[in-house]
Assembly symmetry: C2
Homo-oligomer: 414 residues x 2
């Protein structure tokens, strides 16, 4: 079976806001073996919405509408779907009662427009919304001899997710032919996409029964694998076989095969080794610390560090000799080494990291162009320095630099 | 005139990737007075794509296709659009030559599949792509007596943007009836959306000729205003009048009326006052420093700071007396005050900022629950402390905390 997702709301047709619910719904539908074949985004316009509903019902098996279920005049999803299906709406006394209770509990008077939310399409099952006033609706029927499932969901992500997870998944599972799908994701740091694909394409192309998607971001490649079979074990086995072959080829370039982020992996290894970390950042300005501490529990291995944006602070917090900065410049292998060693010693950490570079867009010179970054990792057996020239804008260069530093730590402690 | 944007690519129907080009295109189209009425996302499937093209041509004036112009079998946009329009494709010798040159310049042999990219729909203007191999195409015609504009663009954002900016904007300007549109954006920090809307809705509702969109994120509300009139001056005047009224109402809750971010505004004021800043962060783990230094040129006012995740480092880098931590706990008004004052003094900065709190999801106690954050700002006339209880997950709590600290700095230096 396949699905179409329709996101409703004029704000989703502005430059400022984007539907993100569909990523969550796609993941859930894929778990059931349902592919999404179309996504449509339509404004709060009855005619457009009715036309989009008619079309979707004609071309997809499962049609999910998100948004437009609120109490205002702009909320037209119920009316439009009913019109497309040539069905009537009726007011559900149960919903009216629950709306009244909700308002009474908050000692608020319910305005009349809220009753709109009690309108139900004939034959629909009401899906209670624990996190909001607008309930969802579930309808099944058939068209051209094919079974159709139509779902109306509220737009706010926390309402939609809770409702879909608790109520729709079971309803869908009962309707969708049982399928056995196994997925895995490999993550690779600091490798060019073309280089990666040249090495792994000959491998995954031999696994025609495993769907492989290679996605590249800044300093990270993700390889998503998916397989279907007559049993979950058989599907899992095929995916695992391919994972094994790719890991044989790429070896330690793969940092995760279970979805973990680079920050998490670094944390696992540091904890396993009872090691601690301190960092001194210049051009990344706190991004490396921010990423490390985005992991809950990171205080077990991350002591902290210094954002040494000025030369004075490089000396004060990371014990970099002023002469060294004068002689080699703040962006140099010598200074980054001193930063890593200095912060390690000052914080009493197992490992110290230093980053200094030119994030741009200004500040570049012929000698030290925008994108030049030095990274250092100091431990008890010496200090490693890596010099890189990263492409892109300020944001991208800073991200690359933090990614490179995390990968250095990973390789040291893995 | 109105537009439909069609994003093509099976990866855009996975849980892992999302079309973002359409936000850019919507902004550009809106500048010309063109509203986007539908966005459609379709996979690399000839039948689906042809159907989507036919539908879009029937319902929109301007149809923009993005993606599916590459050299592989999956790239089907040219064929599908030609089929929908019942037009033929022909091979363009000019494009063939430029492809050959491109490959020759890189000393690479051009494989035959690249010739696909030289296929042009009959009557189309070729739009050279300076950043890639696949050129765009531009077609005009009419259907049901209405003028239609059809544009094919490459999918990679840097190719699409450069091509659209340099070539499509002028072509569109010549076709679209001239309109005069003025826009402005107000940004408001640390205010609840309902509270904000209750105060400004009575104002913007009186300006029926100005389109007002209120969008709320974590700790920031954006009010987007747009007006059309017979001249740019008249449109600008109406928007400016509304801006003035809203600013009168919200006063210094508005931190920006020209699109600048809170980080930028803080930077402007600090520079204007010749003031410098140093920060000591605990629960935000570097996020505040990262946001401040995301602004190019921030080294002029940001000295740096310390990520004092451990209690020892709170003492070492921010001079917090160990007894204070023992007596009141690391998350307390007393400790945050000492952090701000300590980092200010250690760095010799005009202002010092301290943040300490419980970002969660673990580490909360009945006394000090997840979401409790203390913020301090130290200057030469004393130290201000703000205690807040933020809702949401770790990421959201950290973002709120950094936002609160930035807003404290803004209010001090504005």
């Amino acid at each position: 079976m396949n699905a179409e997702i329709i996101a409703i709301g004029s704000e989703l047709l502005t430059p400022f806001r984007q539907d993100t619910n569909s990523l969550y719904l796609t993941e859930k539908l894929n778990q059931l073996g349902v592919e999404v074949i179309f996504k449509t985004i339509v404004g709060d316009n009855r005619q457009h919405l009715t036309a989009a509903a008619r079309l979707a019902i004609s071309r997809a098996d499962i049609i999910i509408f998100m948004g437009g279920l609120g109490p205002t005049e702009d909320d037209l999803t119920r009316e439009a779907v009913a019109e497309a299906l040539e069905l009537k709406l009726h007011r559900d006394p149960e919903i009216v009662r629950s709306l009244e209770q909700r308002f009474a509990a908050r000692k608020m008077k319910m305005s009349a427009n809220n009753l709109k939310q009690a309108e139900v399409i004939a034959g629909a099952i009401v899906l209670p919304n624990p996190n909001g006033t607008a309930p969802g609706q579930w309808l099944t029927g058939s068209s051209d001899g094919r079974q159709k499932i139509i779902v109306l969901l509220p737009g706010p992500p926390h309402e939609l997710k809770a409702l879909f997870e608790k109520q729709c998944m079971d309803l869908l599972r009962a309707k969708v032919p049982q399928q056995f799908i196994a997925t895995r994701t490999l993550k690779i740091a600091m490798m060019a996409e073309s280089q990666c694909d040249a090495r792994i394409a000959p491998i995954y192309n031999r696994f025609v029964d495993v769907q492989t998607t290679v996605l590249a971001g800044a300093g990270e490649i993700q390889v998503h694998l998916k397989s279907r079979s007559h049993s979950l074990e058989a599907a899992q086995e095929r995916v695992d076989q391919l994972v094994e072959k790719i890991e044989e080829e790429l070896d330690d370039l793969v940092f995760s095969d279970n979805g973990d982020s680079l920050e998490q992996i670094v944390g696992y290894y540091l904890q396993m080794r009872n090691a601690t970390l301190a960092v001194a950042e210049s051009c990344t300005g706190g991004l490396l610390s921010e990423r490390i501490t985005s992991v809950s529990g990171s205080s077990r291995y991350f002591l902290g560090g210094a954002v040494v944006y000025s030369n004075k602070l490089k000396t004060k917090f990371a014990a970099v000799p002023p002469d060294l900065i004068k002689k080699y410049g703040a962006v140099s292998a010598e200074v980054v080494k001193a930063m890593a060693e200095g912060i390690r010693q000052r914080c009493g950490a197992t490992f110290g990291v230093g980053i200094t570079g030119v994030a741009g867009p200004t500040g570049g010179t012929p000698d030290k162009p925008v994108g030049l970054v030095f990274h250092a990792l100091a431990g008890d057996r010496g200090t490693e320095v890596i010099e890189r020239n990263f492409p892109g804008d300020r944001k991208r260069i800073r991200w690359f630099a933090a990614q490179q530093a995390l990968d250095m730590i990973r390789r040291k402690v893995m």
